[in-house]
């Protein structure tokens, strides 16, 4: 198909963000130097170094935890709940006011398309603060007794795939319930968290309520293992989740984990095919597939396999891969060289194991970390690409013949975060949704998120929920 209609570049202006050459840690309301060897954060689309970031050591984490403890006992804990709520409302509003700045910065640091950071990440982050703000003075109605109490200091470690949104998922409920926070952003995507520190200052949030300690794995470990942390919340890989569960074993720390996934997206032969194809695309190519709940295993009924794959390939052919700041980009950059290497490795294994790799004709930029949207057909459930989380734009296609087989294959994983069902038959949706062992089931849609809607996994995808009334339970001690 010749292209008559070539979209001219439509880059979002970068001038709205002002990235400092270096950043310190945000502790007790101030930016302070880190004691570790600073690290660099790069733009994954260009490999340009964006800034130098402080690295928190155990001593730095200790200072942050002490600040959080002070704030908890002296200010945030005793504060009138309604006032805590007002601070969160302020934060929500400031996020909305500075939405564009956050979106651009997120795309710069993470590599995700500006369309997604602008239309998904940032508005949802603001929504999370707005939603939880309202809870602050209504916690007695949350089903956790008349006067549930905060744990105290929450240590939170978040991933690089939705840097600001995951911050919001962690910080908003923690603050609404009266906890204070020591947050460790991901090593490769610290910038929006540091901009968030500025939001806290604009909101006049009391010092020490939110502390942001940047760094890599060691810094995260220091947060998790600090003995004065009462509550640990982690989003990231199942492997790290295991080590955190081991680390907090035998302590009084309360733990919630949101880990990996290998979601089945089940397409029945009576599905609304065009929307199903959109849902498959949204399921696996949203955010370059860097999504724990990505629909990475397409389970398609054999009778419509060829039709669905043909439609899917045609649709993937229209995806625009490239500059994350271009408003028409659908797929941005892979977040890091390390992640790119993993995606390549697993894709190569997929091919070596006998699956058939398909990629559209797709020109990738020379610099930066890129991987084209990829579909593997002829995948068997025994293949690694059908079992391991790739965390990239790589779809594995499997088939089924009957609903029972679909359910059995969908559940045949150690994960249990999410799943999708596509069929026009209502009773079938309810039957399948009931039998899927997954925390979130999207029927005739995929990858939808909302602060009112509890999110979290079954099995080795973790425990605890984020969002909704259920999410509050992670940050409160039940009262009787």
């Amino acid at each position: 198909m010749t292209s008559l209609f070539e979209y001219a570049p439509a880059p979002e202006s970068r001038s709205i963000v002002d990235v400092a050459p270096s950043y310190g840690l945000f502790v007790d309301g101030e930016f302070v130097d880190g004691s570790g060897e600073p690290m660099k954060t790069v733009n994954p689309a260009t490999e340009e170094v964006l800034s130098e970031i402080a690295v928190g050591t155990e001593a730095d984490v200790d200072r942050a935890v002490r600040a959080a403890r002070r704030a908890s006992t002296r200010v945030w804990g005793p504060m009138r709940p309604a006032d805590r709520g007002k601070y969160l409302f302020r934060i929500a509003r400031i996020l909305q006011e500075r939405a564009r700045e956050f979106a651009v910065l997120e795309s710069l640091d993470n590599g995700k398309p500006i369309r997604e950071s602008r239309d998904v990440d940032v508005p949802l982050a603001a929504a999370h603060f707005f939603y939880h703000a309202g809870w602050a003075d209504k916690l007695g109605h949350a089903g956790l007794g008349p006067d549930p109490r905060p744990h105290g200091v929450a240590g939170q470690v978040i991933p690089w795939n939705f840097p600001l949104l995951m911050l919001a998922w962690k910080v908003a409920p923690a603050l609404a319930t009266g906890n204070t926070v020591v947050l460790k952003p991901a090593e490769t995507t610290p910038l929006t968290a540091l901009l968030f520190a500025e939001v806290c200052r604009q909101a006049d949030l009391p010092p020490g309520v939110v502390n942001i300690v940047t760094g890599a794995g060691d810094t995260g470990r220091a947060v998790v293992e600090h003995e004065d942390v009462d509550k640990v919340a982690f989003t990231g890989s199942t492997e790290v989740g295991r080590s955190i569960a081991r680390a907090v074993a035998g302590t009084r720390k309360v733990l919630t984990l949101e880990l990996g996934g290998k979601a089945a997206n089940i397409v029945f032969d009576d599905a609304p095919i065009d929307q199903a194809v959109e849902g498959i695309v949204r399921g696996i190519f949203f955010n370059q597939g860097h999504v724990c709940c990505a629909g990475s295993r397409l389970l398609v009924q054999e009778s419509v396999h060829d039709e669905v794959i043909a439609s899917l390939q045609r649709r993937i052919g229209t995806l625009r891969v490239g500059d994350p700041l271009d408003k028409n980009t659908d797929i941005g950059a892979i977040n890091s060289a390390e992640q790119l290497a993993r995606i390549r490795e697993l894709s190569d294994v997929g091919e070596a194991e006998g699956a058939h790799r398909w990629q559209p004709v797709c020109e990738l930029p020379e610099r930066g970390f890129w991987f084209p949207p990829t579909v593997f057909t002829d995948v068997s459930p025994a293949h690694r690409i059908a079992r391991d989380e790739v965390f990239g734009p790589v779809l594995s296609v499997l088939t089924f013949r009957t609903p029972d087989e679909a359910v059995a294959k969908a559940n045949n994983t150690t994960y249990g975060l999410s799943a999708g069902i596509w069929t026009e038959k209502g009773s079938r949706i309810l039957a399948i949704a009931d039998r899927l062992r997954a925390g979130v089931v999207w029927a005739n849609t995929f990858n939808q998120f909302d602060p009112t809607s509890p999110f979290g996994g079954y099995k080795q995808s973790g425990y605890g929920r984020e969002g909704g009334r259920h999410g509050l339970a992670a940050y409160l001690k039940e009262s009787s």
Binding site: A127, G143, T238, G241, R242, S243, A245, R246, A249, G250, L257, L259, T414, I429, A433, R437, A438, G439, V440, V441, W442, A443, N444, T445, Q448, D450, T452, S453, P454, F455, G456, Y458, K459, Q460, S461, G462, Y463, R465, G468, R469, H470, A473, E478, S480
Partner: protein
Amino acid sequence: MSDRLAVRKTYKLYVNGAFPRSESGRTYEVTDARGAFLANAAHASRKDARDAVVAARGAFGKWSGTTAYNRGQVLYRVAEVMEGRHAQFCEEVAAGEGLSAGRARAVVDAAVDRWVWYAGWTDKLAAVLGSANPVAGPYFDFSLPEPTGVVAVLAPQRSSLLGLVSVLAPVLAGGNTAVVVTSRERPLPAITLGEVLATSDVPGGVVNLLTGDAGEIGPWLAEHDDVDAIDLTGAPAGRALELERLAAGSIKRVLRPPAEEPDWTADPGTGRMTRFLETKTVWHPIGL
């Protein structure tokens, strides 16, 4: 009548609806509170635990798929049959825990009542714990509690019936299946409870009772990849940390043990049920 020689009961394991001996062939002597011989109990091995997990997994689909109303009736039926065995439970509790007849009766009464309390919860959980979520878009979005799966329970060491019921019934009410390691020193009421379960309408495999040493079997259950959660209430002193670490390997839900065995007569609250429930959220578009 007094010169009649009693017919004694052989206490075995309760696995998959049957009463096998330990595959290891081992037994151990159970005595009353004063040290007098009561019975030789089966001394469950890791392979018995493995078999019990297979049975519990096999039973999970049917038990969790039973309607909440039906599950409530089945559990209520258990209480009815317990009531019929009241005297036997009293005797075993009195002997094992060294209680007076009156105290033992009170404990058994409380245990039956506790079971009834949980039986009544089955069809309330979804209403109390579920939600319709007002998402900002054209979707119907709801969240419902679902059972976690196969739950390993290290039952309390001291309270051999009321404590056992207090940890087992909440696991079952939510639709889980259970592998229970009973009190080591006081296992007899557990096996009698197994007989109650076998003669009520609880499907085989839903509850599996292993008499023996939680310190020996616990690690195998904690590390078992097909066990979804573990209740460490009866973990031997000093072993909870190790067990929790082992459980981390498969991201098990862990209920940590209290500092000391609680007063089981207190109001239990819902915490023991919610601990072994997952929340499933389902989205569907609203359109014409």
